[in-house]
């Protein structure tokens, strides 16, 4: 089967965009794994919470459902990202406090964490499915950003819409901010210390509970932003909207080396590219097969991922 090179350029662009979205979600998986050695399988619902919060805030309460422009657009977009981020941070903090902390107090086995994570994920997902919340079907995401207008009409043969552009810029800003937090601030130092030796960190005066909640909050914030961007891009929210993006982001985190932040970004961008290029070269129905085959190959030949399992830069 031959690649259709005419479509190659556009696939690289869409792959990159997809990759940045995965990266924002993957950060949460990788940071929580770094400090707790726990795969937080409920992270997909935390991601969804961001989009759902904006659906409620804008669609139901503020009534901002028509495209706006100019300064107003900047304010509205900023506000929506903030609302999504905060909602997801809160849900992540609640999850940590009520699902994981009790286990930590009892020194529970690794398996109990895993089961709890999966249980929490299902619990939250199907809460959203109840009729007093989202209900079973798709719901329209507030249309405050025009889906038609494009920044670049032709970039490598692709039409880059405002929404795509926003997604990439926001992701890059988030990644830079996180990198600074982790490598240059006191909070970041504590998170890294915890990920290297949790007992030693506590015995050097680090308040372990607080740092763990902070980690969930930071990871949740980025996932919430991703949830809003995803809602904008797909134009809808759904109770289980987090499932596939979450699974892909988790794959990306493992690909780059779980626990390693820069690895998660690298893995996410690679996964996005692989997925989108393979859908031209092989056929779009194969893209998930290819993506997860990559995961299997990495686990077989390089189980620590591309960059290995260390958090700092």
């Amino acid at each position: 089967m031959e690649c259709n090179f005419g479509l190659f350029g556009p696939q690289v662009v869409t792959g990159l965009i997809l990759g940045f979205l995965y990266a924002l979600i993957a950060l949460g998986y990788t940071m929580v794994y770094g400090v707790l050695k726990l795969i937080n399988f409920a992270h997909d619902v935390i991601f969804a919470t961001g989009g759902i919060a904006v659906f409620y805030a804008f669609g139901m309460w503020f009534g901002i459902t028509e495209p706006v422009s100019g300064v107003e657009l900047l304010l509205v977009v900023g506000l929506s990202l903030l609302i999504g981020g905060i909602a997801s941070s809160l849900s992540a903090a609640v999850l940590e406090r009520f699902a994981y902390r009790p286990l930590r107090r009892r020194n529970a086995a690794r398996l109990s964490y895993l089961i709890t994570a999966i249980g929490a994920s299902f619990f939250m997902t199907y809460m959203y499915q109840q009729n007093f919340l989202l209900g079973p079907g798709r719901r329209p995401f507030p249309n405050y950003m025009s889906r038609q207008s494009a920044v670049f009409e032709d970039l490598l043969g692709t039409r880059v819409t405002d929404i795509m552009f926003l997604l990439v810029i926001t992701s890059i800003v988030c990644l830079i901010v996180l990198d600074r937090i982790i490598n240059q601030t006191r909070t970041g130092r504590s998170i890294r210390a915890l990920s290297e030796d949790i007992t030693a960190a506590q015995l050097m005066g680090v308040n372990v509970d607080r740092v763990i909640v902070t980690t969930f909050v930071i990871g949740g914030f980025f996932a919430g932003i991703a949830g809003v961007l995803y809602g904008l891009r797909t134009g809808s929210v759904e109770f289980n909207m987090g499932f596939f993006p979450g699974l892909k982001a988790f794959t990306a985190a493992v690909l780059g080396g779980i626990g390693n932040i820069r690895g998660a970004v690298l893995g996410a961008v690679m996964l996005g590219l692989i997925e989108s290029v393979s859908s031209v070269c092989i056929g779009s129905e194969w893209r998930n097969v290819v993506a997860f085959s990559v995961l299997v190959l990495v686990l077989v030949f390089r189980p620590t991922g591309l960059l290995g399992e260390r958090m700092g830069g």
Partner: protein, 285 residues
């Protein structure tokens, strides 16, 4: 002289194993207090009880007149006790400087928002933390490795870095768990100087040490732990000539038995009978 740390009737029971039985001693402010005893005598367990890793089964630990039993390890650091580890536990992928700054940070409050929007106050604090950390690296003689990763330092320097990190929390009492282990004679000499310097700067030192030369030369007072019980306490010369101590270290009978078997019922045994086995005195004795 005020007593700084008071260990009152501390007992630590792990299932059927009695690791510490009714341990009592006091550390006076400004001294170097040595805690010695054969392998498995309960020295590190006692450290863990003092620093909040374990809550003692019975008894209490008082620091500067206030009880500290049941507090979390990080709260105990806040109160003014910090430690090093027998098995080095640095943060291996952080630089030496960062390792120490983690200890300095423990004294500051953190907030995520302050971290993102770097206020002038925060920037000043960061600079102060860094200066303080550099001073401590210098104090411990490892300043030239400030930007090297913890795991790349030599063994002896890693021990010094651990001490610097512990001192960064500004403890009133620092607990050193076998700081000379694995050091060569030259490094041991240097370490003795460092421990004295720490005391002279006003920090009280509780020292676990296997090497008799190090501990006897340094300590103002010594307690000997055997099978979880204090069998002697006093000035190094007195303790050294105490028959019970000699027995514990060298054994009286000739029959060597398994060290762990004797521990389980050690509390009820008389020191003479339990220690009737040969044990290594450790170090270069």
């Amino acid at each position: 002289m005020d007593s700084l740390l008071k260990v009152n009737n501390v007992t630590m029971q792990f299932g059927g194993l009695r690791a510490l039985g009714d341990v009592n001693f006091e550390i006076v402010e400004g001294e170097i207090f040595g805690l010695i005893g054969p392998n498995g005598a309960g020295k590190t367990t006692l450290f863990n009880c003092v620093t909040g890793v374990y809550a003692p089964t019975e008894g209490a630990v008082e620091f500067a007149g206030a009880p500290i039993t049941g507090k979390r390890p990080d709260q105990i650091v806040d109160i003014g006790i910090c430690r090093t580890f027998q098995q080095i536990r640095l943060f291996p992928n952080m630089t030496a400087l960062e390792n120490v700054i983690v200890g300095v940070d423990a004294r500051h409050r953190t907030s995520v928002f302050g971290a993102i929007f770097r206020s002038p106050r925060r920037k000043r604090e960061e600079r102060e933390s860094e200066d303080e950390a550099l001073r401590l690296l210098d104090f411990c003689g490892v300043k030239r490795y400030a930007n090297d990763l913890g795991r790349n330092l030599s063994y002896g320097d890693q021990r010094r870095l651990e001490i610097a990190r512990a001192l960064a929390t500004k403890p009133k009492l620092v607990l050193l768990d076998e700081p000379a282990a694995g050091m060569n004679p030259v490094e041991k000499n240097g370490l003795r100087g460092l421990v004295r310097k720490i005391r002279d700067e006003g920090t009280t030192v509780l020292l676990i040490e296997h090497d008799m030369k190090v501990v006897m030369g340094l300590s103002d007072r010594v307690a000997v732990l055997d099978h979880g019980e204090v069998i002697a306490e006093g000035h190094p010369e007195e303790v050294q000539s105490d028959p019970k101590v000699i027995e514990a270290y060298l054994g009286t009978g000739g029959a060597a038995t398994d060290g762990k078997a004797g521990q389980e019922n050690s509390a009820s045994d008389e020191p003479g009978t339990v220690s009737a086995r040969a044990r290594e005195p450790g170090g270069e004795k």
